[in-house]
Amino acid sequence: MIDRRARPLRSARYRSSGINREASPLRALTVPYASILAGSLLPVLLLQADVMPLSPPLGFMMLLAWRLMRPGLLPIWAGVPLGLFDDCISGQPIGSAVFLWSLAMIALEYLEQRIPWRGFWQDWFTACLAIVTYILAAMALSRASVSTPLLVATVPQIMVAAVLYPLLARLVSRLDRFRLARTRRIG
């Protein structure tokens, strides 16, 4: 009788990366969008900041982070559907995020053609610029009567957003690894 060969011991170690594995297309396609939608949803549900605008616009920041970390992954028009979802729940008038997110995507594309070099500090600077512009523009479009106290109240929000961007960029690079993890078995 011939005994059945034991399973090779090494297979467990190579479970996540082997020559017969490839990235799951479903995961590769959905992770960026799902994370941006989650970013839109999170401040609405998790933070009860009813007295002043406190939470950074996480949806927009996730979009920025994906755009800056993986240029070309999101199509330029991605701001339209994602912005529409953000508008439905964020309390802004419908159309404000569709408009501003699309403009941001076009502006970043243009900026990238003009200044093709990239780096951590430059990305952070670009993101901060985009976030500050976005928060102020969103406030102007929100039908709120803009007054000095309201402007002062957004300062903490802007500061938190600026400090949070590198963390979100880290998160996005983790998510990108997860997105492209070779999990689907072929053959």
Binding site: L45, M52, L58, W77, D87, I94, F99, R143
Partner: protein, 301 residues
């Protein structure tokens, strides 16, 4: 690092066209956004069904973190309470003594109240709330101040109903979907509430500033009679809120009134009750002119 060359379209016509299409779609998207924005400025209610459908889906999800949030708040209170126990004990004992005196006074007033009401044949008791719900979400990123509750038109809510917590007024219902509703909080910069000073009849408007404080604007200008610590209650004018519900405490005096802090701070509020509109005839009468936003109208006057 420079741009990866794979993203340049080069001489390939197909690649050039796809880049061009991307730009075109993005520009059209921005235009679409501008058009939607113009429409929602012109007709603010036109996207209510869309927003309503979204909030109907989102609010049940929000119940879970809302419950967890109130749990974690109380846990934090336990920790801080432990450290403040001694000082708090002394203070509470003092407050208790004062409260006993006030209670006796209040009983006397209640008796007198009952007698006067019997004279006037006004046997109106407490208002039964239309619904009670948890605040499940808020517009934490936006410059507007909205909150969401998990009850809607299926529970009998209509726009305009006052929302209050056990402490005082929180806001009013702005948009109603089937199973959820959007509440405009008092601190929203478009919110205006007619109030009067408790104790006398100094009438004023309490306008939200957007940063958590209310601006109290006196209707009768002249000598500013307000003092720090004055309590403002709803006056019942306008017909939405029933009179005598606590709103805010004055914290700073300005030439035309003052700045006030909310008594029912929504971020510390867990459950709210939605009450029927106090005088729906008065509200209907004020809307004859076709203005759908009472607050706007009042602001301009």
């Amino acid at each position: 690092m420079a741009l990866p060359s794979s993203r340049r379209s080069g001489f390939s016509k197909k690649a050039q066209y796809s880049v061009f299409t991307g730009y075109l779609l993005a520009a059209l998207g921005a235009l679409l956004g501008a058009a939607l924005l113009a429409l929602s400025y012109w007709q603010p209610g036109s996207f209510a069904p869309l927003r309503g459908a979204a909030s109907d889906v989102v609010t049940p999800v929000g119940e879970v973190p809302a419950a967890a949030r109130s749990g974690s708040q109380s846990a934090w209170d336990v920790v801080t309470g432990y450290f403040n126990a001694g000082a708090q004990n002394a203070r509470l004992r003092e407050e208790n003594a004062i409260a006993r005196i006030r209670l006796a006074e209040a009983e006397a007033i209640a008796e007198e109240n009952q007698r006067l009401k019997a004279l006037l044949d006004l046997a109106k008791g407490e208002v039964d709330p239309v619904a009670t719900a948890r605040l499940v979400g808020s517009s934490a990123t936006s410059a507007r101040r909205f909150a969401y509750v998990g009850v809607g038109s299926a529970d009998g809510l209509v726009p305009g109903m006052p929302v209050r917590s056990p402490r005082g007024v929180v806001g009013r219902v702005l948009e109603v979907a089937r199973g959820s509703a959007r509440i405009m909080l008092l601190t929203d910069s478009e919110s205006v509430l007619p109030v009067r000073r408790a104790g006398d009849n100094t009438v004023a408007f309490a306008e939200g500033r957007g940063d958590g404080l209310l601006r109290i604007r006196l209707i009768n200008l002249g000598l500013n009679p307000l003092e720090e610590g004055d309590v403002f209650v709803t006056s019942g004018a306008g017909g939405y809120y029933r009179p005598g519900v606590a709103v805010a405490v004055l914290s700073e005096i300005t030439p035309d009134g003052g700045l006030a802090r909310l008594i029912a701070d929504p971020s510390g509020t867990d459950f709210v009750s939605i009450e029927p509109i106090y005088e729906s005839e008065a509200v209907a009468a004020s809307q004859v002119g076709g203005a759908n936003e009472l607050t706007q109208q009042e602001l301009e006057e």
